[in-house]
């Protein structure tokens, strides 16, 4: 793929992206590395290296990105040690896991319905 950074005219360097959204090039590169491993973007190294989308924007959902960057779950469930004498303490974690599993599914299902193309279209509209 090297040597073909030009295969997508929207290729951008990490520095360009960083300036655009007011963050650091390093953060962009670390994030791109995750997206790249997930197959959402492609990169080329060396002089004239850059990043670009690996698929069409319509084929990338927010769920893809959510999973790629290992975003936190809808809820963080405590990791406190249990108090052996307390029935609640010993079982609450499992109960919450089961209960929130459906909430997590609802969240992911919702994210799956939104694509990058949707976001872009929305920006154009405003």
């Amino acid at each position: 793929m090297a040597g073909l950074g030009c295969c997508n005219e929207n290729a951008k360097t990490s520095t360009e992206l960083a300036q655009s959204v007011n963050t650091s090039a390093s953060f962009v590169r670390r994030t791109m590395a995750k997206l790249s491993k997930a197959g959402l973007v492609e990169t080329s190294k060396g002089k004239s290296g850059a990043c670009w989308l690996a698929k069409k924007a319509k084929q990338i959902t927010l769920l893809d990105i959510y999973q790629a960057v290992a975003a936190p779950k809808a809820f963080a469930i405590h990791a406190y040690p249990e108090s052996k004498r307390c029935e609640v303490s010993c079982n609450i974690k499992g109960a919450l896991d089961r209960a929130l599993d459906q909430t997590q599914k609802a969240l992911e299902s919702s994210l799956e319905k939104i694509t990058l193309a949707d976001i872009v279209a929305d920006i154009r509209k405003h």
Copy 2:
């Protein structure tokens, strides 16, 4: 309500609750204060003070609790300053707000379907 800490035989002090779930009494009190303001629990001060549910467990949903404790939104949207020259930078925030609004609704709708009684029943079952 003072003097009637006994109006619910399940009344517990913050110290008892803290020991039960391995946290600090102070944290329990800060959390109970939020739940109390939301009308989910009641408390009594002074000697023999305590906390207890203000409603039946069946009438308290995880959404009630989620909102009461001001849990974070499903997603944190960046607060970086915009780069005036970048169309994306100037509009991405609004676009994400709109897109994730439906995800937030999905999450809250899911939470609304789970009550404290459900959690308790699940614990009993295991």
